[in-house]
């Protein structure tokens, strides 16, 4: 111990995030997952620029084709290119996943920090969290989307309206776990001495939260961010699969999967691509979350 202490004295002090990155790199599944997730993100962002076929271009003479050079994933019943559709659908699915996750994270962190920091608000906010946890999420999601989509479509146009609806509904119904974890961490942080020191020099609550509390609860927030993306992608696909999501000429992975199940006997490989895209993306995100959890846990780090 003393040897290492003397040798490292000359080096620059290592930051916490460098340690986290070192630990993260040792988790093989997480590295593969991260690489795959970056690959999928790049593919759906820049893919449509390279693969210039329009996802909604109808070529009825080339309908229900299997994989070929012209259409690597085949075509659907109207002759639309499945590869272009999967790329376009991935954009929407990932965008929904990330945006809904950010919304849920914002709500969860807000509720968690406020409940943990202000004692008077703790009990009512936690009762609210318990109440939201007791709501049947999937049925309510379906109900809300079915009932309000026409209003929002009229207000914001068919695609944007549904996007706002799906994202806000998923975000509003999935912040509870983040809130609980963050509250627990804030409660234990509040008892620590650096918080007492900061308070004794008269730090106001606002700066206290932003400067001292929030940076210290980043690790549980990051782990729930990855899990949030995974659940948001699955929920969006489930809604689309049940026929309540985006309009049918607007491809998302769930929508493509649901449309191709009707042609299962005729063209079975068409189902595989969107389903594989959903599953592999969610799997990679879950592995990233697993690796992050290990990397951010100081008890495991450095072993």
């Amino acid at each position: 111990m003393t040897d290492t202490a003397t040798t490292t004295k000359t080096e620059a002090p290592r930051s916490q995030w460098a340690d986290v990155w070192d630990q993260f790199r040792t988790h093989r599944g997480a590295m593969i997952g991260a690489a795959f997730f970056v690959f999928i993100c790049l593919l759906v962002t820049f893919g449509p620029m390279l693969w210039t076929l329009e996802p909604n271009y109808i070529d009825i003479r080339a309908k229900n084709q299997g994989p070929s050079m012209a259409h690597p994933f085949g075509t659907d019943q109207l002759g639309r290119d499945t590869f272009a559709q999967v790329l376009a659908g991935g954009r929407v699915s990932l965008l929904v996943g990330v945006t809904a996750m950010l919304l849920a994270l914002f709500l969860g962190t807000l509720v968690g920090v406020v409940a943990g920091y202000f004692k008077r608000l703790d009990s009512p906010l936690m009762r609210l969290t318990d109440l939201f946890l007791a709501l049947p999420i999937l049925p309510l999601l379906l109900v809300i989307i079915m009932l309000f989509r026409d209003t929002l479509r009229a207000a914001f146009g068919p695609e944007t309206g549904i996007f706002i609806l799906v994202v806000s509904v998923i975000g509003i119904t999935s912040w509870m776990h983040t809130a609980r974890i963050v509250r627990g961490d804030v409660l234990s942080l509040k008892e620590q001495e650096f918080v007492l020191a900061a308070r004794s020099i008269g730090t106001p609550s606002r700066r206290m939260i932003l400067r001292h509390i929030l940076p210290n609860v980043m690790s549980p927030i990051m782990v729930s961010a990855t899990l949030g993306i995974a659940t948001a992608i699955i929920t969006e696909s489930a809604i689309s699969f049940l026929g309540l999501g985006f309009p049918s000429d607007f491809p998302t992975w769930g929508r493509l999967l649901s449309d191709s199940t009707n042609f299962m006997t005729l063209n079975p490989e068409r189902v595989i691509w969107p389903g594989l895209a959903i599953s592999l993306t969610v799997l990679s995100v879950n592995y990233i979350g697993d690796g992050l959890r290990d990397a951010l846990d100081p008890r495991i780090r450095g072993r």
Partner: protein
Amino acid sequence: MLNYTLRRLMFSIPVLLFISFIIFLILDLAPSDPTGNLPLTIPPEVREKIRESLGLGQPMPVRYYKWCVQFFVNEPLNIWDQYWGTCSFGCEDRLRVVSYVTRSPVVDLIVQRMPQTLWVVGMSYVVGILIAIPIGVISAYKQYSWFDQTGTFVSMVGFSVPPFFSGVLVIIIFSVQLGWFPSIYDTTLKVVSWDTFMLQVRQMVMPVMVLALQTTAQISRFMRASMLDNLNQDYVRTARAKGMKESVVLLVHVLRNSLIPVITVIALGIPAVFGGAIITEQVFKVNGIGQLLIIGIQGGDAPLVQTLTFIFAVMIVMANLVADIMYGILDPRIRYD
């Protein structure tokens, strides 16, 4: 313990009332019209009459109150009367929660759909648990072995693959390509002989497989973690030092203690499985309560959707209650008082 149970039960009543009110509010605020699916030739004044006959003319608090009376008082009384064949408190003119679309009592519809859901969902949950527990035990006992690594990977896949993809995938493999199992669940099938029994088993294999994969993925992880927590405890060393057989140590001492948190997870998972069954029922065309909910939502059938969603909420609240109470009963170290 009894005191705690009673307190929790009392507390769940306002929670459930509040949830039912939220559901009612959402359904009421929505711009959905139960006459929207009727022919366009019906004149507006008749449409208004139809709406009034459905009870939509009254203000929202009155309608919510009436739904509460119908659901919490009239329906239990009706079940009581049907069960005992009696007629108490004026059973003839008792108002029941009636579906807008089918005009039959909602509870009757749910009772018709319940057996299919219970068979498929319940069976898959049982199968999933029965597979998950041995996997968790072996994974923990042989930590970091190839079995453990494979189990971790498979459960990761089980978490990640959504049921609407795994369901479609098994349909493609087993019914389109191999032709072993039927892809559509036939609920009219009555089990009277060995052949019909085999048919029933064959049509249940795929939905049960899909739902059980998800259950197994979750519960085997919990089982493994719980076993690992217990394997390093002092009482395990003591049991080994006493010279007990390894199988006794593992399967009697460690397993029984490790099952305590797992049982609460199992109880907590029941409503989630019912929720997930909504999708699985749609994939395999099982006409259970999940499919009933989808039909109700699509048809703007407010009483049906209200009642079904509320029943899901009751299940969640009750599962939480049962999990907490069981934890207290099974683990004497936990005291709620």
